[in-house]
């Protein structure tokens, strides 16, 4: 059964339709202690001459803007840190209780959390496409496979370890 029909009370016609207007009227009356004019003024002809001064400033702006894409930097920093951690962990054969990967990641997060880059997420979002981001977008030169082999040659002592899956 409809709840409405159970209640033996009625409202005047159009009561709910006009409720919001009446409420807003009442609210606006209670705001009367707040002055409507903010009292801020501008110098004479400020808006008329604004275009000229803006033009001057635009002409003095450097043409090329460099923009540091922070998310990309975070991604690179995280991947470099991950590579370094793997390499360091392996070489040191460390049995320390502290997990290097946890420590480094939280450090990186804390760093970006606590340092003010003077860019809001909106500003980053305005200029940064979030799709189709490749590591090659932010490394000026690609990593050559020879360099990778050299790196592994210098930093990895036991090549069999790298091929466990393959050997099995």
């Amino acid at each position: 059964m409809n709840k409405k029909n159970k209640i033996p009370f009625k409202t005047p016609e159009g009561y709910f339709d006009s409720f919001e207007d009446k409420l807003m009227d009442k609210l606006s009356k209670t705001e009367s202690t707040i002055p409507k004019d903010s009292a801020f003024k501008v110098p004479d002809n400020y808006f008329e001459s604004f275009n000229e001064s803006l033009k001057g400033k635009l002409e003095n702006e450097p043409k090329v803007i460099s923009f540091f894409p922070i998310k990309k930097i975070i991604a690179v920093a995280a991947s470099i840190a991950a590579i370094a951690i793997i390499a360091l962990n392996y070489n040191w054969n460390s049995s320390s209780e502290l997990s290097f990967s946890d420590l480094a990641n939280t450090d990186i997060e804390a760093y970006f959390e606590n340092n003010d880059f003077e860019l809001s997420p909106y500003e980053i979002a305005e200029v940064l496409p979030v799709t189709n981001t490749e590591y090659s977008d932010f490394l000026s030169s690609p990593i050559e496979s020879d360099n990778l082999l050299d790196y592994l040659n210098e930093n990895v002592s036991d090549f069999d370890e790298l091929n466990i899956d393959y050997n099995e």
Binding site: I34, D37, S38, A39, F40, K41, Y46, F50, L58, Y122
Partner: protein, 180 residues
């Protein structure tokens, strides 16, 4: 008035860019100015931020996707520029944002471009005590008379949330003005 879509298209077309940008500046400069001024309070700072806002718009117009209104997009840039300006200044002076904003309000007494009486000055002091979101919503609704739907797009907050913020702000301001 020129259609928004045409304006955006012209702004992205090299040959029409200069004229389109002028139209854009003429259409929005006053509205953006008052939004910025309500945050930075002094005229000189508002002028700086307004210019930076238009420079940013000019440089990033290619990145404007058209999924929001040009007006809300620019308003958002202006708001962020103004808030960041305050934060940078506070940082430069080595004080907290709140202390810096209180200083801005006390500077109003000597500001030649603030012609407020005692109650208007008190109101600015009261607004300075509000949390950032309530401050923004109050200024946008009360002084700039923007619609909740417009504010919602600019601040990326639900209309319900904005109404709640606004009424909370009004209550706090009235309380402050009554006590003072």
């Amino acid at each position: 008035m020129i259609e928004e879509e045409t304006l955006v298209l012209d702004l992205k077309t090299k040959s029409k860019q200069a004229h389109a940008f002028e139209v854009l500046v003429n259409t929005y400069k006053e509205r953006l100015y008052w939004q910025i001024r309500s945050i930075v309070l002094s005229h000189d700072d508002a002028d700086d931020v307004l210019q930076n806002t238009f420079i940013k718009v000019y440089k990033n117009i290619d990145g404007f996707k058209g999924d929001s209104k040009l007006f809300s997009w620019m308003y958002r840039i202006a708001t962020n520029e103004a808030l960041n300006y305050i934060k940078q200044r506070a940082k430069l002076q080595g004080v907290s944002d709140t202390d810096y904003q209180n200083k801005l309000v006390s500077n109003l007494e000597a500001d030649v471009y603030f012609e407020g009486d005692e109650i208007q000055l008190q109101l600015q002091k009261a607004i300075a005590t509000l949390p950032e979101k309530q401050k923004l919503v109050f200024n946008m609704k009360y002084f700039q008379e923007l619609k909740y739907e417009e504010i919602s797009k600019i601040l990326d907050t639900s209309v319900g949330g904005l109404k709640a913020s606004y009424h909370l702000a009004v209550k706090k301001l009235e309380q402050y003005l009554k006590e003072d």
